[in-house]
Symmetry: C2
Subunit: 888 residues, 2 copies
């Protein structure tokens, strides 16, 4: 019963501060913080997120308790300001704004100038000596309130305004008089009554309660829900509401409003930087109707260098602002994004927050703040959002370039790319060979599309989520990918792509931004990634701190080289089957699949051997002595079969079999649940000769390097073990083949044999499995699928809803489910170490590149994580943060 | 180095006994046991199973160590018998027989009369004063040895024999003289040398080593391997070899050979019973060339009542045999199956074992042995193989009826049935309505075939294993099923079934025996199951002892009634979706699936509600107050969609949609891994209205019964929970709907709400889930699939190989994997009980009817198991055995 719903922020009494974002929302927390710092924040109060949840619980009504608390809080503001809510002489006006724990820009509603009515508008006119301002504010308030609170379609109000301007023979709102606005107010009120049957409320309290309710309700409007789903935010958080007394930047030429940054958010350069508008409200800056002026000379650019600076125009206010920004940056120890208003030459601070910045700026600011001794290296590391490094590692769109966005999908793999569209791997390769840059457009991709993905600059798919095949492979390749772009209608037959009615054909150009999910028409110019000196400095700090190793998932020499360049300390997962899909190999693979006898199978395997060996030599050379963990064949054999009739026919010809025989055999390989089928080590149990061939390829390659004086550390990994005996039997096969290679090829380097723990049963029986394992590598993708009983390929239909409804804090394929999957990982580590204390433990699922998951891996004492090459720096930083977090 | 390979059995020194089957094989263990009892067992020795494994390890060669031990053992036999191996005066001959730990009748090889050569044959002739016998034995030995040991195709030897008979103008072997056989021996030896290039070995030691090696090798012949795979026996066990001195029942009219049972193996009646042949070898009885005579008057039947009994013909030997059988039955405390030979009026016992018997006989014998005070009730319960009860619960083939077996599949669901074959559910229903008994023949069945399965007497499928859909559903229905019968070629288009070239059309008759897997032509008459008084007595003993409850899996009133009749104490799993497939309901279900809006979906659900309610009323009535656990909708929605074009068209018409719209929507429901897809409680999270409708149907039905004075205990089960919040949210929906029903319908009975634990994550987070669960029911089918990462539908391709190679002790879908899946079950029990000590815990997977799994369920303290109605008595007995086993 003693629940507190309302929190003050004013010069006399302020409750809470910047660490109370969950309760007060980000905006509310910072308003409280600034008030405590003694800055000139217009006084007000915050209705907490808990009140929002209470409001929802009560079926969308504000309790009397909340209202009573709000009344008390408001009277304190009245007291401090000497004005009165709804007063006809000195009326106190309020803004009513949403503010959730995370910024959701533009998603929820705002009401300004609340408290105006037919009486108080006169007070405002008198007080400001500016009736035009007062009536303009009133008619703006009515329009905003009708729209936001009353759900009124305001088109009719806008056209009335247009009609009036036409009648007056003017073009701009600014040309209308106070009398015009007074007239407009009457018309607005009348129209609202006629159209909605409800009159515009004159009671300021009624205005307030309904406005707060409307903001709370806007937490659940469809665009806010969609936004949270896209960003993985929880629907159960709720929003706070900030009720703050109004200050006016539009009272005359001694008033202004603006935004400033304490450093350059684009480059990180240390320069005070911002824009302002004289005689304007904050909304006018956002709306972009007038071109804002630079606050100081260092903010000048081509479009504004003729304009007067704030420093020149209002030196006193500017000097105050300078004091404020220094105070705020020193206090928050970070670059600040500050909103201010100057009302009759008096400066008010409306908002501050850690400024959004580009990845490059983030690095620059961090390095500068350390050298300025504002923060320590560890603080700098901890402040950096690892995901922000992403931008630095990929080409990005030139921010100056024009773009026409035609669709939006999931930002599945960062970076930007332009190219001619193609609809198949074959065409991708064809045009690539002709020197074209291509974008591969598919419903969704499958392992068959690998060669096309390799040939492309970027990948665009209509289906699939953040962990779809396209997304995972593209991230591995460091190629931009926009996935699950529902607006695409792909017609393979006619080779067309239709987006909102516009038809694109093969070789039409598109640009995709895999960091935002945007799809653009034509070619948009890009800027290459530039790993500046500061980046290296910053990453070296991370490397000094972290204890967790960072390896890469890479399947070929090229990716391996990229990985090493990004700082990989080895390969944590080399998927040998990706090597099978190249055109000259796939036929031999298929020949192997269709072999009737062990001898025939061996013949086909003998054709594949030299290719695999060559790949391994390349990878070993790229790694130059660092360990390389190679996973033996994993997917079910049907993944290697052709799908089209034409390809089937081709295969039948090649195998000298009848088409129907080939089709029948392919049919026999069909599986109801391929994820749970005849794959991984189960294939090797059935066909040990496949495991033998791969072992031979690895060790012959190792022998070549070893004998050339190149250090090699091969680790042979048996996938999908569920039963300890699977590993026992296959390890014997592997060792026997290695002995054969040794007897033929002479001295071999040291090697390890181990297994992937990717099934619940493997984790549970890890003690028994550890007997024969030199290492465990946790395959958390499959472990998540089996632990949850959830197919990654099918979960897209309902998983977003699960995250949205708060059933899951995060997509468990993105961020490791520590409670369930993590329990098994930890259990297996403990059991494995008991039996084999020297065992190496690592993780090679997609989670190896996710900051939260990396923190967990550090916590349970893994030796390394392995992730896509392009996520290596992110993993290095996350691993450092995991250490630092545990110190404080 | 001091490994012992050879074990004696003789009057002077016997090593081991009946409990050493793993080491000595079943036959060897019993020979030792009988020798120890002082019975007249021809002396010999057993080469152990360990020697077999050593032989395999050495690449198929007998070590000198083993040979040396065998030489010593053989010389002891020489000493005791006064004969000498290979001697030309008093030759000692041996039989060399396989003997594994379990009986594998006819699967491995045997050599008789070993030790005969050109010299010793003369000794045998002199010694027996019967040269014809000696030369006949020699030529038989050569033929057997050439075949078994030398791998010689003996057709040519057989035709030589035929030629000789023709030349002599005789028809039977018995009409040939000793001189004829002597001549035949020369021809045989010559032919073998010419055809194989190897001469028949004269050295008896060489004969012995090669014969032992051949028997060891026969462990791995293809039929033995196949047999073990079919029976789930381990390939790594190996076989023992018994080398035993020969005795001859064919030395003249004072010699004989026979088989006897201490009680009737068919009825269990207490009568000494057997058959014998004068002047014959044991093989002759088995071969069935001559009609055997009854050993005593109580063994007489229509075909042998004119023949002299052994009792009349050889009273002394018969009296001895009577003494022996009594001694053996008293010693083994069970009905014995005894092989004996009388050589020159002297009785020898060659083998005894617990006699195979029918289920009926097993019960009769157990009850009799208890009333005779030979064994206690608990011993009787423990002795009974629970699986043997199966026969008692289903109609079985009349043992006297003639049968023509045309194919063999897996014995998927016991019982026998005859009927006209049909190839679709529709035709099954059609002919059933016309009064025909039908057998449904399908490639494999799916949920769509349920109505056809209901209409059929039995089910026959070409694909699928012991846990295929057909098998599981048939067992649930108590209908005979033969599954995975590879010989079937089904042509749906032409509606024909071809088996080995013979074509069967719709309405041709077949008979299937689901207990053996046999498929027979035409109608074979059957005998109805008869649960005699002894059965009731026996089961009541089990009920007195057991502490584990036994419930049934049943989905409709009929099965529920059967279950109660078999002793079910409740329903442990009522799958509501099985109710959806009946023709008048499936359209409404599909309408629900295709609904665009919640309102449309509700309309369709309103059509299904009365059907479900009616079913529940029927089930509640059948259970008469016992608890009924009802699982809400579980399978993915696409399982309810039609598959054929025709049905799609029909559905489109019904829904008033275009065919392509229906097809497109159906396509969208497609899943890559349906097992891990949008099913179980995930459907209810997306469509809470489905969960609401089902809750309403259950509780309205409960209200009707309750208000009629019928006691009801509904338990509502939410399936496939992976996350505690899923249950929290859905429990709220369920409770809210129940409150609505209460407000409309008045007083309701008590109910429970709980969940199925069938995913690893649910087991791991059971503590959190337990907060909202009144009960846990372990769905060990799905839990096995996810814990192993193994699809039941796809595992058939490699799982038998896994069991065969010893990777798994048993098919984990048949017998619970205690190490992996069992760990999770136990873990969840412990965690669940900590949070909610009153929680009810049960199991409802197929494992609930498996004796070994039931033992585990008892061990970890579950409250009940739930299984197919027809396995209820098996579960009751197994539960009792679990208690008794822990006492001793």
């Amino acid at each position: 019963m003693s629940q507190k719903w309302i929190y003050h922020f004013n010069s006399k009494k302020t409750e809470g501060g910047k660490d109370d974002k969950n309760l007060l929302g980000g905006k509310g927390a910072n308003l409280a913080e600034m008030s405590s710092l003694g800055l000139a924040v217009p006084p007000g109060f915050t209705v907490s997120t808990e009140a929002c949840l209470d409001f929802e619980k009560n079926g969308g009504s504000l309790s009397e308790e909340i209202k009573n608390e709000a009344k008390k809080a408001l009277s304190l503001v009245e007291e401090l300001s000497g004005k009165k809510f709804g007063d006809e002489k000195a009326p106190l006006l309020f803004s009513v704004r949403s503010g959730a724990r995370v910024s959701m820009p533009g998603m929820m509603d705002t009401v300004l100038n609340l408290g105006l009515n037919d009486q108080s508008v006169e007070g405002l006119a008198a007080q400001s000596s500016n009736p035009r301002f007062a009536w303009d504010s009133y008619r703006r308030f009515i329009q905003m309130y009708a729209n936001v609170v009353m759900g009124f379609n305001t088109t009719i109000l806008e056209s009335t305004l247009e009609d009036l301007k036409e009648a007056r023979g003017v073009k701009e709102d600014t040309e209308l008089t106070g009398e015009d606005f007074r007239e407009l107010v009457q018309v607005y009120k009348q129209l609202i009554l006629e159209e909605s049957g409800k009159s515009f409320p004159q009671d300021p309290w009624q205005q307030l309660w309904l406005a707060i309710a409307a903001v709370f309700q806007s937490w659940n409007n469809s665009r806010a829900i969609k936004y949270r789903e896209l960003n993985g935010y929880n629907h159960s958080w709720g929003t706070a509401v900030n009720v703050q007394s109004m200050v006016f930047g539009n009272l005359g030429d001694d008033s202004a409003t603006g935004v400033c940054f304490t450093r350059d958010p684009s480059t990180g350069e240390k320069r005070f930087f911002g824009e302002y508008l004289v005689n304007a409200q904050g909304e006018d800056v956002v709306a972009g109707i007038r071109t804002p002026a630079p606050i100081n000379s260092s903010s000048k650019n081509d479009s504004n260098n003729e304009m007067a600076t704030l420093e020149e125009l209002m030196p006193k206010a500017f000097a105050e602002l300078t004091g404020v920004y220094k105070k705020l940056e020193a206090h928050y120890k970070d670059m600040q994004d500050i909103e201010f208003t100057i009302e009759a030459d008096k400066l008010y601070i409306l908002q501050t927050r850690n400024g959004k910045r580009t990845g490059a700026a983030a690095i620059q600011i961090a390095v500068d703040l350390v050298s300025e001794k504002v923060i320590s290296k560890e603080e700098a590391l901890l402040k950096m959002n690892p995901e922000d490094l992403n931008q630095l590692l990929h080409p990005r769109l030139d921010p100056e370039a024009k773009r026409k966005i035609i669709a939006k999908g999931l930002p599945a793999s960062p970076g930007a790319a332009s190219g001619c569209i193609v609809f198949s791997s074959e065409r991708a390769n064809h045009h690539k060979e002709n020197g074209e840059k291509v974008i591969l457009v598919r419903q969704e991709t499958s392992p068959e599309d690998i060669s096309g993905m390799v040939a492309s600059e970027g990948i665009l798919t209509a289906r699939g989520g953040m962990t779809s095949h396209a997304a995972v492979v593209a991230r591995g390749m460091g190629k931009p990918c926009v996935a699950g772009c529902n607006a695409l209608l792909i017609d393979y037959k006619n080779q067309t792509l239709t987006i909102n009615g516009a038809v694109y054909k093969e070789l039409d150009t598109l640009t995709i931004d895999g960091g935002t999910g945007e799809v653009m028409e034509g070619v948009v110019s890009t800027i290459e990634a530039n790993l500046s000196g500061e980046f290296g400095t910053f990453m070296s700090w991370a490397d000094e701190v972290r204890t967790l190793g960072v390896r890469a998932n890479a399947d070929n020499p090229e990716d391996s080289a990229v990985a090493v360049n990004f700082g990989a300390e080895g390969i944590g997962l080399c998927r040998t089957e990706h090597m099978f899909f190249e055109p000259e190999r796939i036929l031999a693979v298929r020949e192997m699949i269709f072999a009737d006898t062990k001898d025939d199978r061996q013949k086909a395997l003998d054709k594949i051997l030299p290719f695999q060996k060559e790949d391994f030599v390349g990878i070993f050379k790229a790694l130059a002595g660092k360990p390389v963990n190679i996973r033996l064949l994993d997917p079910p054999l049907h993944e290697f079969l052709p799908h089209t009739n034409e390809e089937m026919k081709e295969l039948a010809d090649y195998l000298k079999l009848e088409l129907k025989t080939v089709e029948a055999r392919a049919g026999m390989l069909h599986e109801f649940n391929p994820m749970l089928g005849h794959r991984g080590c189960r294939l090797a149990i059935t066909y040990p000769e496949i495991c033998r061939m791969q072992t031979r390829a690895i060790m012959e390659a190792a022998a070549i390097c070893h004998q050339d004086g190149i250090k090699v550390q091969p680790e042979i990994m048996i996938p999908l073990v569920a039963i300890d005996l699977e590993l026992t039997i296959l390890k014997k096969e592997v060792l026997a083949e290695i002995e054969k290679v040794r007897s033929e090829k002479g001295e071999l380097p040291e090697f390890k044999v181990g297994t992937m723990i990717e099934l619940p049963r493997a984790a549970i029986t890890a003690g028994a499995i550890a007997k024969d394992a030199d290492f465990f590598s946790f395959g958390t993708n499959d472990l998540t699928q089996t632990t949850f009983g959830l197919s990654r390929d099918d979960a897209g239909k309902f998983l977003p809803d699960y995250v949205g409804k708060g059933l899951l804090p995060e997509d468990p394929f993105v961020s490791l489910d520590t409670e369930g999957v993590g329990f098994l990982v930890k259990f297996a580590c403990d059991e494995g170490r008991k039996v084999n204390p020297n065992m190496k433990l690592g993780i090679c699922g997609e989670h190896g590149g996710d900051p939260a998951s990396i923190d967990f891996c550090h916590e349970i004492g893994l030796e390394y994580v392995s992730c896509s090459p392009y996520r290596i720096p992110i993993a290095r930083l996350s691993a450092a943060q995991a250490v630092i977090r545990r110190k404080s």
